[in-house]
């Protein structure tokens, strides 16, 4: 290396280093401005679902550009794409967000559209967007649908419940039978044709029912329908009855016409079934099926209703001064909503009861209450320690204090009981889950009257809740 000056060596090295740096930054995408600019296209999304600046844009899986920027425009995300110059998009191009790779990297996939449409220019907007399906939205649709459906059945029940309407229905069925009889007579000749028609109708209705299931529009219609039924149900049945009777008369008068009508119906349904005409296309399109199956996935989310269901488990031990002893209690509180709850309990009572033969019965007793809460107060009704009982609670300081009064044993079954068993006491939560209890027991009975003092644990149980949830779904 002698003969080459220091400066030259350093210079060569510097050029080399700069070349490597330039190469690497170019490859790493740091010199975007040095590349050809291409052109920009906008897309409006309701939900970008994890797209980001610099996210790749692909056409047919091949890189075609990058996302240059994302901003909010009236609550929607406007995604600005920078596409390579040689990529040509047409007016009916569609954009959808896809994910790839091990870690679910997102990219924007574009279908360029068809060539009979005008080309997109710089600054144009792609109008066809396939949004990412939001499972929560779907679940909501389904909940609404289920609600409407149950409304519908309820109103049907109302309509068919009354004697008058039962009679009407009977009447219309009778009429219908007459019609079918007449029809049978008339149509026997065309048996083969009829069978084909029925096949067509059956496949048509199959497709239609899929259509109805999947579409929220249809759900809205059903809701409207059920509302109408509710208001004008009985009248409707009467009208129907009348219509059917008239129909029968017409049919009987026009047997040959019916025959030809059936023939043309046959040809119409055949057309639909072969996928011709706009209804036919609608019915035969697999897209419907796809959207329905996607919707069904959303249904799983309805499980989240379980989350509102709360379950509490309470263990409590009270020391009674009379009769001396400890009263062990276990309660399971099921609370489907904030206002309603059910209490199931097992109580080990030191005060036995007199059985039919005068002997002391067992000391394990059961409690089951139906409770309803009104603000800070709650009323309970049901079985208290094996007998009919009722009670009330009053809550204070965010439920830390509870004052309760209970009455039971109206039939005075308990030992030496002259009056019903009345118990008044209060619970106080020292910590989140632990409470102290104190009060007066059996106040009305001189011989049984006494105080009590105790401690208990009350906690919310998650597992139990889910167990209940899955049980109710399993049935």
């Amino acid at each position: 290396m002698t003969g080459i000056s220091t400066e030259i060596k350093v210079g060569i090295f510097a050029i080399f280093a700069i070349a490597v740096l330039g190469f690497m930054t170019f490859r790493a995408g740091g010199l975007e401005w040095a590349k050809t600019r291409g052109y920009a296209v906008n897309i409006l999304f309701n939900n970008t679902a994890g797209l980001d600046e610099k996210t790749k844009v692909k056409v047919a899986g091949i890189d075609a550009g990058v996302i240059e920027g994302i901003d909010l425009v009236k609550g929607r995300a406007r995604v600005r794409l920078r596409l390579d110059k040689d990529i040509v998009l047409y007016k009916n191009a569609t954009a959808s967000i896809k994910s790839s790779g091990l870690l679910g990297d997102k990219f924007l996939s574009i279908n360029i559209g068809t060539q009979d449409q005008p080309q997109l220019k710089d600054g144009d907007t792609i109008e066809n967007v396939r949004e990412v399906i939001d499972i929560d939205d779907l679940a909501l649709h389904f909940l609404r649908f289920a609600q409407n459906f149950s409304d519908l059945t309820a109103s049907l029940n109302d309509i068919l419940g009354s004697e008058e309407s039962k009679e009407s229905v009977k009447q219309s069925i009778r009429n219908l039978k007459d019609i079918t009889d007449s029809l049978r007579l008339g149509i026997d000749v065309n048996d083969l044709k009829l069978r084909k028609t029925l096949d067509n109708i059956s496949s048509l209705t199959g497709s239609l029912s899929r259509l109805v299931d999947g579409s929220s529009h249809a759900v809205a219609n059903i809701s409207d329908f059920s509302g109408t039924l509710k208001t004008s149900g009985t009248d409707l049945v009467l009208d129907l009855n009348k219509a059917v009777r008239e129909f029968r008369e017409i049919v009987e008068e026009n047997r040959p016409a019916v025959k030809s009508a059936v023939a043309s119906l046959d040809s119409i349904t055949g057309t639909i079934n072969r996928g011709e005409g706009s209804i036919g296309k609608l019915v035969r399109d697999d897209k419907l099926y796809d959207s329905v199956s996607k919707a069904a996935e959303g249904l799983n989310r309805t499980l989240s209703t379980i989350d509102r269901f709360r379950t509490f488990i309470t263990f409590q031990a009270d020391y009674l001064t009379k009769p001396k002893g400890t009263k062990g209690q276990f309660y399971l509180t099921l609370q489907p909503s904030a206002e309603n709850y059910y209490v199931f309990g097992v109580v080990a009572d030191p005060a036995g009861k007199t059985g039919p033969g005068g002997e002391l019965s067992n000391r394990v007793e059961f409690t089951a209450h139906l409770a309803r809460r009104f603000g800070n107060a709650a009323l309970r009704l049901g079985v208290t320690e094996n007998t009919f009982g009722a009670g009330g609670d009053y809550f204070m300081d965010k439920d830390r204090w509870k004052i309760s009064a209970d009455v039971w044993d109206f039939s005075k079954n308990e030992e030496q009981a002259k009056r019903p068993h009345v118990k008044v006491g209060m619970n106080y939560f020292v910590f989140k889950d632990i409470f102290l209890s104190a009060g007066m027991d059996n106040i009305l009975n001189k011989k049984g009257r006494g105080g009590y003092l105790g401690v208990g644990v009350r906690f919310e149980d998650e597992d139990f809740k889910y167990l209940l949830g899955s049980m109710s779904l399993a049935k």
Partner: protein, 257 residues
Amino acid sequence: MIKLIETLGRTLIGFSGELGRIVLLLLATVRQALMPPLELRNTFYQMLEIGVRSLPVVVVTAIFTGMVFALQTYTGFKRFGAESVVGTVVALSMTRELGPVLTGLIVAGRAGAAMAAELGTMRVTEQIDALETLATNPVRYLIVPRFFAGMIMLPAVTIVADIIGIIGGYIVTVGLFKTSSVVYWKRTWDFLVASDIYNGLIKACFFGASIAIISCYKGFYTSGGAEGVGKATTGAVVLSSMTILISDYFLSNWLFR
């Protein structure tokens, strides 16, 4: 007990004193560096020394680091079927971390030691004093060129180390494990962004400056003859390496978060 406290105190005072002197030297260097004209010849010579002559060692280190990195990540990633991202891992770790740090350590060992030994010898043989009598500022004449050379050449060497390391990874993943070379390069360039490279180079720039200042400081304040020169050299390498590794954390925290 008193002795223990005394030792602790002395260590602390010595440490603060050293830190203070380094900072003072740095300030003096910067002040001198801002006043043209520079000692260009000297600077070029130091650039040759720090940059070009360190290159062979750095290249060998980088290529083997890249290779072993690819080897290890490949065997690891194969266990969960992510072999295709070996290129990404190698590229990211080389540009962000291994390139600057390894280059820094090697240059500290090679050029830093040389600087400290050279300046130390000049100090004990009273050449630095002679410079002062000749009305030449020794900081300007000796330290500024090294400081500049370190700051410029370390990033330059680092970028070479980066690409060599990535090539090393390529040799192993494609040559040894027979994966697709297209996938390797695609994964490398797809996920590498320019800021990875630039921030790595900013780190290298800091490392270069600290190596130069610390080594010059150790040499400049050498005392105690030939033995002192030896101590200064060792001290320069140890302190520069420590500084690189410690400041690397803080720089990464600042640059890459």
